[in-house]
C-alpha cells in the first residue's frame, strides 16, 4: 500500500499524510488518529529513502573502515552498530581496504545516498577530499587523530602513548634488543606505534637497540618474519608486534625452532584478543577499548545530528586510554600483574 492509497482511504490529501508523519502538531488530533488507524490497519511502512528526499533524513549513517577483517575494527563496528540501533538508524558499511582512492569513491557514494552522518576510521583522505561534507552539510566524526575539512569531531586511541608504554615496559625487564613488527600497509595507527616505540627506545639512552620490520597483518605474516630473523641470526631479545595475529605467528615460529618464550624471546602485542590469555605462555598485550571507541564515535555523531537545528556545534576531541595487560610472555611471573595492570 502506498501513500496515495492511504490518503484515499482516510479521506485526506497526500500532504496531510505527510504532515501526520513529520509535523503531527499541525494536524487536527481527530484527523491524525484517523490516518494512523488506517496506516496501522494496512501495516504501512513509510519509504525511508523517499522520506529522506523530503526531510533530508534517511535514518542511515555511513561507516568507512580501512579493513573489516581486523578484529579491532570489528569491535569498533559493533560499538557503532549498538548505538545506531538504539537511535533507530541503520549502518552502511564500506570497506576502504586501506586505499585512499577507494575511500574517496565511497565518500562520493554515501554523500549521494544522502546519509544522515558519516564515521571515518583512520582516514587516508586529504583535507580537500572532504570539502563535500561542508557543501552538503553532512555531520562527520573521525576515529583518528587527523582533522579533515568538515570533520572536526574526533575520537581516538593514543597509539603513540600506548606503544611508548609497552616498549618502556619491555625496557624495564632489561632487554637490550627490542624490535618492532609493524603492518606492511602504512596507516595512521602504524605510524603512531612506530613513533611511540622510537621515543621509548631513544629514552633508554643507547642501552637498548632495536629495528623495525614489516609484515602482513596475519598469523602467517608474523610466522614468516620471525623465521626470517631466526635464519638470519638477527632475532632480538624482545619482539613487539602491532597486532596479536602477528604475535601468535611469532610464537608459533619460536615453538617450531625450539626458542623458549620468554626465556630466550619475549613477545608482546599492541592488540589483545580472546586468544591471547589462553596461549602458552599467555601473551602480554595492550587492551584497546575498541568497542567503547565505536560507541563514542556514534554518540558524537548523533550529538551533531540531533543538535543540528538547535545550537551551533562545538567540535569535540576525545581520547580513550588503553590498558596494559601484563601476562607471562615477557618475563612476568606475578599473578597480581596478570590480574591487574
Amino acid at each position: 500500500m502506498n501513500i496515495k492509497e492511504i490518503a484515499k482511504e482516510a479521506g485526506v490529501s497526500v500532504a496531510t499524510i505527510s504532515r501526520v508523519m513529520n509535523h503531527p502538531e499541525q494536524v487536527l488530533p481527530e484527523t491524525c488518529a484517523r490516518v494512523l488507524a488506517v496506516m496501522k490497519k494496512h501495516n504501512y511502512i513509510p519509504n525511508l529513502f523517499a522520506r529522506g528526499l523530503n526531510l533530508g533524513e534517511t535514518k542511515t549513517i555511513a561507516l568507512l573502515v580501512p579493513n573489516i577483517e581486523s578484529a579491532i575494527y570489528q569491535m569498533v563496528i559493533s560499538g557503532i552498530e549498538t548505538v545506531a540501533l538504539s537511535k533507530e538508524h541503520s549502518v552502511l558499511l564500506c570497506n576502504t581496504r586501506c586505499d585512499a582512492l577507494t575511500e574517496r569513491g565511497y565518500i562520493e557514494m554515501v554523500v549521494s545516498r544522502q546519509v544522515d552522518g558519516i564515521i571515518l576510521v583512520a582516514s587516508l583522505l586529504e583535507e580537500k577530499h572532504t570539502e563535500v561534507l561542508i557543501e552538503k552539510d553532512i555531520p562527520c566524526v573521525h576515529i583518528g587523530k587527523k582533522v579533515l575539512k568538515g570533520c572536526h569531531d574526533r575520537c581516538y586511541i593514543n597509539y603513540a602513548d600506548d606503544a611508548n608504554k609497552m616498549t618502556s615496559y619491555l625496557v624495564s625487564h632489561g632487554y637490550e634488543t627490542i624490535d618492532l613488527l609493524l603492518e606492511e600497509k602504512k596507516n595512521e595507527v602504524q605510524e603512531q606505534i612506530g613513533k611511540g616505540y622510537k621515543a621509548a627506545i631513544s629514552e633508554a639512552l643507547g642501552y637498548v637497540h632495536g629495528n623495525i620490520h614489516f609484515a602482513e597483518n596475519s598469523v602467517q605474516g608474523g610466522y614468516i618474519q620471525c623465521e626470517k630473523l631466526i635464519e638470519e641470526k638477527l632475532l632480538p631479545r624482545a619482539l613487539l608486534t602491532s597486532n596479536d595475529y602477528q604475535a601468535l605467528g611469532v610464537m608459533k615460529a619460536a615453538q617450531v625452532h625450539e626458542i623458549k618464550v620468554p626465556e630466550e624471546l619475549a613477545i608482546a602485542s599492541m592488540t589483545d584478543s580472546q586468544i591471547c590469555p589462553i596461549v602458552q605462555p599467555p601473551l602480554t598485550c595492550m587492551d584497546i577499548p575498541a568497542k567503547r571507541l565505536g560507541m563514542l564515535a556514534a554518540r558524537m555523531l548523533f550529538d551533531i545530528i540531533e543538535d543540528k537545528n538547535i545550537s551551533p556545534h562545538i567540535p569535540q576531541e576525545v581520547i580513550l586510554q588503553s590498558t596494559l595487560k601484563i601476562r607471562r610472555s615477557c618475563g612476568n611471573t606475578k599473578n597480581i600483574y596478570e590480574l591487574f595492570e
Binding site: L320, L339, F340
Partner: protein, 372 residues
Amino acid sequence: MSIDLNGLKLKNPIMIGAGPWARDGMSIQKCIDAGASAVTTETISLEAHKALCPHMYSQEDNVLNIKMFSDLHLERWEKEIESIDRKDCKIIISIWGSSASEVSYLASKAERMGADAIELSLASPIGARNRMIVDKSSIVSEFAQAAVRAVSIPVFVKLSYEAGNTTALTDSIYEAGVKVVSAIDGLRGMMDIDVENQTAKMPTYGGYTGANIRPISLATTASLKQNTAFQICSVGGITNYEHVLGYIMLGAQATQLASVIQLEGYPAIERILNDLDDWMSSHCHNDYSEIRGVALSTLSAFEDIGPQPFKAILSETCLEDCNICEQCCLYFAIGRNNKNELTISEQLCTGCGLCAGRCPQNKIEIGWSQKI
C-alpha cells in the same frame, strides 16, 4: 531544614550514594519515594559492563563487591532518567572515564540527560588502573577540571580513603573548581582464603563497605573538614540516624546511604529519615547548621592530649563469672577476692579503658583514681 550543596537545594541530609541500588529508573524511583533528597546513579561509563557472577560477597554486616560500572548503555540511561518522577529529589549522575577528554564528554552528556549534579568517580577500589590515578594528583586535577569546564552544574568528586587523606590531591581537586566531595569510597578488600582448598574465595579485590568502614570514614570527614574548604557528603556504614548525626557533627554537609540498602532494602531510607526528624524536633533544632561541626571542638591532636590519672572502677559488686574483663586485662589488674567478687588493683591498673568497653553489663567505669 534544607541544605545547600554547592547551590543544590536538598530537602534533607539523606542522599543515596552511587551503587547498584540506583542502577535504573525503577530503583532510583524507590529511593525517591522513600524520601531521599538526592540519588546518585550507579557509575556510568561509555560502555556497559556485564557484571560478574557473583559480584557481591557478604561478611556479617559488611559487603564486598566486584561491580565497578553500570551494565546499561548510555542510550538506555537516557530513557531511564526520563522515566523518573523526580518530585523534589535531585539526580546526581556518577561517571567514570579513562582520560580527561572522556570525562569531559561524559559530563556534558550527563548534563544533557538532565543531571542536577555530576559525581566523578576517580578511585575505585577494584582494579589497578584506578590506584595509579590516586598516586598522581596532576591527573586527578586534569580529570576534575575537564568535568568542571564541560558543564554548568555542580561537579562532585568521590574520594577513596587514600585520596581523602592526601592533601596534595585534595588541594589540586579544589583548585580545579570542585567544591563538594563524597567520602569515602569502599576500601580495597578481600574475602577470607579457603584454607582447605588453598584458594581465594573471591577472584579479585573488591570494594569493602558496611559498618566496619564507618570509623575510617568518620576520621576522613573530620580531617577533610579541618584541612580543606570542601563541602563534604559523608558515606560509609550508615545504618541509623545517630550515624547521620555523627557525620554532621563532624562537619558533613550531608550524608549518603549505601550498603544499608543492600542489607535491609529501601525501607531503611524512610526509617532513618523519620528517626532523624524525631531527634531534631525533640532536641529543638530547626536547622542542621545548629549542630554541624559541633563535635570537632572536642577533638585534639594526639600530641596535645596529656595523660590523666584515670583508673577502672567497679560501679557495683560483681559476682558474674563471664571473666571477660579479667581475660582482656593486659596489666593483670583484675582478679577475685575470697568472696569471689571481682577486684581491680589500683596499683596495676593503667586506666586503659578496655575492660570498661568490653563489660557486657557496663559495670566498669573509667574515672578519677580514688586515692587522689
